[in-house]
């Protein structure tokens, strides 16, 4: 007994055979359980080839994918890893955060220093999607900008295209990024790539460069635009507007760039740019006319809108440019062509452009004297499916048209404006009736009765009478009666 106690104190007691067997069995079972779970997890997380993946993966799968690709990048399989990362970033922008957390940016940076062109291209593709991610990730990715900029002045056109794309994404993220890129001297390099007709012909690269320039031109401080203008943007735009055919998809980007730069008020405060604006306006109007002749499809609207915006803004910001537009042979034909479009967006922007154009009284007189243009505007109002916003804009334009001179008003009456407005009055809502009545009021005040054929105004009078019977708005009824009183007594019996 004492021996046993002593033994217990100083020696470890061994286990029973039975206990040992149990322990072994338990460990075997737990090992099998772990193995089974591991296999099940792998099966659940198994993803088919990325090319066949048509749906987004779950957040867990995406994270595993990104981590795996980052490890692959560290191990040296750069092209495969970068391709996988590029696809991960395209699927979900949150993958960029995961990549950055895994300290992938220094690895990407080292890939951009590689002398292997396949690695460089893969790294550039990866950078594009990384810079298209959320703002937080893009701020970190901004560290890549000096290297991306250096490739712009290289000789590999593929790298130039990809780096310009990535720089465009960086610029589009925030104003601070635009300023940083400006400070790093990106603009001269970008403009160099569109400085000659030969450069411009590389369409994919030009598209990327324009994407970057557009995003930079949208800066709020005008510094980027000034830098562009100092680095011969004007001559580059001349080449782009003249050389690129209307069938090219580049027209859209060229339009946006022109619009973003030359629609700014700051442009007109610098006399250096004054002569440039006239040339740009002429080229924009010319392009607009050619684009309006393209067959109607979705891309036509996208291509025309930036040119309309540029035209409308330039004319609105400068009276001299409005007068210059009135002297351009293709301006009015371009406006007519745009008004014949079936796109509501184009119609709205065209009417807006004409409103800015008609701020100058001589330009208003010019538009009034174009009977085709006026009849098209009025027929727009009478279309059944016209948008309310468009109708309102056209009527606002008409309000200006009747305020040029009495001579012009008589011309408007001669063109049948009163009849058109009466027809509109019958079918329109009360919200626009007030505008129509104010226009009719001014026209009736300038009415030259001896020159009117008999029965000419009966339709107008009937319309006004009809309005007084159907309308429940007391003010509108009173207003209508006031307008009816403007009719001379001799016409009341007709």
């Amino acid at each position: 007994m004492a021996g046993e106690e002593h033994r217990k104190l100083y020696k470890k007691s061994g286990k029973d055979t039975f206990e040992i067997q149990l322990a072994v069995k338990d460990s075997l079972l737990s090992g099998q359980r772990r193995e089974r779970e591991r296999l099940l997890t792998r099966k659940r997380l198994k993803v088919e080839s990325l090319n066949e993946a048509t749906c987004k993966l779950s957040a867990e799968k995406e994270q595993l994918r990104v981590e795996g690709a980052t490890k692959l990048l560290k191990s040296g399989q750069k092209v495969e890893a970068l391709t996988a990362l590029h696809q991960c970033f395209a699927r979900d922008s949150k993958n960029a955060e995961t990549f950055i957390k895994c300290e992938g940016l220094p690895l990407l940076h080292s890939c951009l220093l590689s002398t292997n062109s396949s690695v460089l291209h893969a790294a550039a593709w990866c950078s594009i999607n990384l810079t298209a991610a959320d703002s937080h990730a893009v701020q970190k990715a901004l560290r890549l900008s000096p290297f991306l900029i250096q490739f712009l002045s290289g000789s590999d056109s593929t790298m130039q295209e990809l780096c310009a794309w990535a720089i465009g994404n960086l610029a589009g993220d925030s104003q601070s990024n635009k300023e940083t890129l400006l400070g790093q001297g990106v603009i001269p390099h970008l403009l160099n790539l569109v400085s000659t007709p030969h450069h411009v012909m590389v369409e994919t690269r030009t598209q990327s460069v324009l994407h970057a320039l557009i995003n930079l031109a949208r800066d709020t401080t005008y510094k980027c635009c000034r830098c562009m203008l100092e680095n011969s943007l004007f001559s580059s735009l001349k080449i782009l507007l003249k050389e690129v055919p209307e069938s090219s998809q580049l027209c859209q980007e060229i339009g946006w760039l022109t619009s973003c730069v030359y629609s700014r008020e700051e442009i007109f405060s610098e006399i250096l740019n004054a002569n440039q604006c006239g040339t740009i306006l002429h080229l924009v109007v010319d392009k607009l006319l050619h684009l309006s002749c393209l067959p109607q499809d979705e891309s036509k609207e996208k291509m025309m809108i930036p040119y309309l915006l540029c035209c409308g803004n330039m004319i609105g910001l400068s009276t001299e440019l409005a007068l210059l537009a009135s002297d351009l042979p293709m301006f009015l034909p371009a406006m007519k062509a745009c008004l014949s479009s079936s796109s509501n967006a184009i119609l709205l922007d065209t009417v807006w452009t004409l409103s800015n154009f008609c701020a100058e009284p001589s330009c208003r007189a010019l538009v009034v004297s174009q009977s085709e243009l006026m009849s098209r505007l009025l027929s727009l109002c009478n279309e059944a499916d016209i948008h309310f916003e468009l109708l309102s804009e056209v009527l606002s334009l008409m309000e200006g048209m009747v305020r040029v001179s009495c001579v012009m008003n008589r011309l408007l009456i001669k063109q049948g404006t009163l009849e058109n407005l009466s027809h509109l009055l019958k079918n329109s809502k009360s919200t626009v009736a007030d505008k129509i009545l104010s226009i009719m009021e001014i026209l009736l005040q300038d009415l030259d009765l001896p020159q009117q054929p008999p029965g000419a105004l009966s339709y107008v009078r009937e319309s006004l009478q009809y309005l007084t019977t159907i309308s429940f708005d007391i003010k509108l009824v009173e207003r209508t009666k006031a307008v009816m009183e403007l009719f001379p007594l001799s016409t009341s019996s007709v």
Partner: protein, 401 residues
């Protein structure tokens, strides 16, 4: 942004450029439907309005029509001009104005949108196209490059990346002509080396920035603070990606040590006969790794800037070591006696004694083993002997005996 007044000052004081076409009078007449009266009226309004603007006034209607002028004054009506601010507008993907664009794989995009039969057709066409475009592989061959390619596009990319802006001296490849220029100037231009301590020669790495700096560190500070470059940046890695062996770093440190030594004790190189010759050729003595003397012309050039810095090619060729070996350069001069004795190997333990009473063989004596008097004494000892004064008596006695 709505502007009530659309009139700015006369900014177009000069005529527009001649290249802008203007409508002629005959074309204008056509615009007015041949109505000369109307055309005359229009030109009249234009002239009258321009005159008022020149005088600094504003007109919103025909200034010659008093009725309309009075009407507008009474109404307070002014033309409305609206300018659309594009810089503050958000993205409009429908119109194609987007801040960021993601690059999708063409295959993924097409697979998402097309049916299976179209996919099969496309893959068939792709295979046929690949067969047509498949070329035999060819070697680059530029400057001995052995890279192989199967398409011209890949070769072109490789050429632009690896062979276009290459330094002819150190074979480093650069991304652009500007960086290559800067590298050549700062690393391989003796004129730069002479002038750089005296004036600002380090160019800013932003091409459009004309500033220069005295040192590369100042340049780096400028890049980080003004141009907002990331602090730990470098523009290229080494061309030669061979792993640097440990001895090269040791060699570097020895180089530096010997540089100073060489500078202050050039006479060591200029007097080959002064070096000590060791008859026993122990490997350590002749180990080229331990030869540390270099000729001044072989001193490595310093690298330029942190931004441009690449591990320099400082591999020591065996050719440099060979002549030193032949002349029996040793590496033990300057070492302590204890180090030298350890260097001898100590083949026989000191406890072993051969013969009773005899001196211990192989016992190392102070002053080194096997050194003759001319190896231990100062070199300035005069060893000349006058033969006339030598006493040959002992020699004569021994010969007679």
């Amino acid at each position: 942004m709505e502007i009530e007044e659309s009139y700015h000052g006369n900014i177009l004081k000069t005529l527009p450029l001649d290249e802008i076409p203007k409508v002629t009078n005959s074309e204008r007449l056509v615009l007015f439907g041949g109505d000369r009266e109307l055309l005359t009226y229009y030109l009249g309004i234009r002239e009258a309005a321009a005159k008022i603007r020149q005088d600094g006034g504003q007109c919103f209607c025909d200034p010659r029509d008093d009725k309309m002028t009075t009407r507008l004054k009474a109404e307070g009506w002014r033309p409305r001009v609206l300018v659309k601010d594009l810089k503050n507008e958000g993205d409009d993907p429908d119109l194609g104005l987007v801040g960021k664009q993601t690059a999708l794989d063409e295959d993924t995009k097409k697979l998402d949108s097309d049916t299976d039969s179209e996919n099969e057709e496309r893959s068939k066409n792709r295979l046929e196209g690949e067969k047509e475009n498949k070329m035999e592989s060819f070697v680059c061959g530029v400057q001995g490059c052995s890279a192989q390619f199967t398409s011209l596009a890949s070769h072109e990319s490789h050429y632009h990346t690896s062979h276009n802006f290459v330094c002819h001296v150190c074979r480093r490849a650069f991304v652009s002509n500007f960086l290559l220029d800067v590298h050549l100037e700062e690393n391989h231009d003796s004129y730069f080396k002479v002038l750089s301590p005296q004036m600002d020669m380090y160019r800013c790495l932003v091409e459009s920035c004309i500033l220069k700096f005295r040192t590369s560190d100042l340049r780096k500070d400028h890049l980080v603070t003004v141009h907002k470059f990331p602090a730990p940046f470098s523009f290229h890695g080494p061309i030669n990606h061979k792993p640097q062996k440990a001895k090269s770093s040791k060699k570097k440190s020895r180089e530096k040590a010997n540089k100073n030594r060489n500078n202050c004790s050039a006479m060591d190189m200029e007097r080959p006969e002064a070096t000590i010759h060791e008859p026993a050729a122990s490997p350590s003595a002749l180990n080229p790794e331990k030869t540390t003397t270099y000729s001044p012309s072989q001193q490595p050039t310093s690298t330029s800037t942190a931004a441009m810095d690449v591990e320099p090619c400082t591999e020591v060729s065996a050719e440099n070591a060979a002549p030193l070996q032949d002349k029996g350069r040793h590496s033990n001069r300057g070492k302590k006696w204890s180090q030298r004795s350890r260097g001898r190997g100590g083949r026989v333990p000191a406890t072993i004694c051969f013969g009773r009473g005899s001196q211990r063989a192989f016992q190392h004596q102070r002053g080194g083993r096997g050194r003759h008097w001319h190896q231990t004494q100062h070199m300035d000892v005069d060893t000349t002997v006058d033969i006339e004064k030598v006493d040959f008596a002992d020699l004569a006695e021994s010969l007679e005996g």
